[in-house]
């Protein structure tokens, strides 16, 4: 004799019993988890920035915003250029007005909150420009903290964001030490530089690399020994940003100064 109670109980047990092997194992498959990083990809995209060549024109930022459909007047950007001015007194000034979308056309430093400070030529001991973009880290902390698997790394090293899965919690934005992430003003999902993934996968170069008249930006494949970028990284003295975070950034800089943040 099966009572209503027993029936309910068996039904629940049955459903649970069926569901566990099908679905639960899909969340945690040890084979796949420990498969880890044995990547056989023939490509690992890296970036090389020559800060000596950068003049702060901001053509890269303009091209990036248009190419990647980031609203032009929104105060967020996938790539930007910073200006550093060190005075003879050792004082450091830095700014990036509108991410240098319109370049640097004045010697006045943007101090934020509507204040500016001009620094005279005689006071300057060194001054330079540093382009920034996503470092496509080997250990991306932004990916680690995504609660839903909306951001991930592809085998060729680029970190992408799934606009259909992202819940918009902002944890990845907080986790990035380089401040490259933001919320897209239209899609309201986390947004970041992805080395123009739609271009590099078609054999083209990124919009910022192409837009730069001075060759300050270069993209290459570190796994290809004949790639000119690989040769420079392998043979010359290059620096990376904020290595203390253990993120293993893959944007390399020539002429990186201690003042660069």
């Amino acid at each position: 004799m099966i009572t209503r109670r027993d029936l309910l109980k068996y039904t629940i047990k049955g459903i649970a019993g069926l569901a566990v092997p099908i679905a639960a194992l899909e969340i945690v498959n040890p084979n796949k988890i420990f498969a880890g990083k044995n990547d056989k990809s023939k490509t690992r995209w890296v970036f090389l920035v020559d800060t000596y060549k950068c003049v702060g024109c901001g053509f890269c930022v303009k091209a990036c915003k248009n190419e990647n459909e980031i609203p032009y007047d929104a105060n967020v950007t996938r790539t930007w250029v910073e200006r550093y001015v060190v005075t003879k007194d050792g004082e450091l000034f830095a700014d990036t007005p509108k991410g240098a979308r319109d370049g640097f056309t004045t010697s006045k430093i943007d101090l934020g909150a509507g204040k500016y400070q001009d620094i005279k030529k005689e006071e300057i001991s060194k001054a330079f420009f540093v382009p920034k973009l996503c470092n496509q880290c080997e250990n991306p902390p932004c990916v680690q903290v995504c609660p839903v698997g909306a951001t991930y790394q592809v085998p060729d090293g680029v970190v992408l964001v799934d606009r259909k899965t992202c819940i918009g919690c902002g944890y990845c934005i907080m986790a990035c030490p380089y401040g490259v992430r933001f919320f897209h003003p239209v899609h309201h999902t986390a947004e970041k530089c992805n080395f123009c993934y739609h271009r590099i996968t078609k054999g083209m170069k990124t919009a910022c690399v192409e837009a730069c008249p001075f060759g300050a930006r270069q993209i290459g494949n570190i796994k290809d020994p004949d790639d000119p970028v690989t040769k420079i990284i392998k043979t010359e003295r290059v620096g990376i940003l904020k290595e203390e975070f253990g993120t293993k950034p893959q944007v390399y800089y020539i002429g990186l100064d201690k003042e660069v943040r």
Binding site: E67, I124, A127, Q153, H198
Partner: protein, 161 residues
């Protein structure tokens, strides 16, 4: 009468079961652990194709422009501005001339000042570019009134002064 103590546990197991079954229907089939492992590769595989399918706007290939605008092209490649891509000023080409038929040209002073506003930075590449003080150098007119961006004849201009 069996032990009632486990009754709440059955409810919990039932709820877990519902969530797991819901997963089967809600989670896309291609969602899973991919090449970079669970830490970095937990995602929806087809999203990679979504990103690859994003439309290319800039060609950044001056040869593309040459066929129709040969005169401008010839003039440009002989000038110091040869390093600048046409689309930096003329905007993304998209499917031009079909769509759009006419490109939006950026003729603003701001565009030229990106490089030619003088900044006293001896240790940067900016120092090697001829620059002006935008506040003093004919502040009210467009640069192209005197300078041809495809052939910036600085020598002729200064000689005529």
């Amino acid at each position: 009468m069996k032990n009632h103590v486990f009754r709440p546990l059955f409810v919990v197991i039932g709820l877990v079961g519902i969530v797991l079954i819901a997963r089967l229907f809600i989670v896309p089939k291609d969602f899973g652990v991919w090449e970079r492992g669970y830490m970095y590769g937990w995602h929806r595989k087809s999203n990679e194709e979504d990103w690859k399918a994003v439309k290319v706007k800039y060609q950044f290939n001056n040869e593309y422009c040459k066929d129709c605008h040969g005169d401008k092209y010839d003039s440009l490649i002989q000038s110091p501005h040869a390093i600048i891509k046409c689309e930096n000023c003329h905007g993304p080409v998209l499917e031009h001339p079909l769509n759009p038929a006419k490109l939006q040209i950026d003729r603003s002073r701001q565009q030229c000042l990106r490089c030619h506003s003088y900044l006293p930075y001896p240790t940067s590449g900016r120092a090697n570019i001829k620059g002006i003080d935008p506040g003093k150098h004919n502040p009210d007119i467009e640069c192209s009134m005197c300078h041809n961006p495809h052939k910036p004849n600085l020598g002729a201009l200064s000689g005529g002064k």
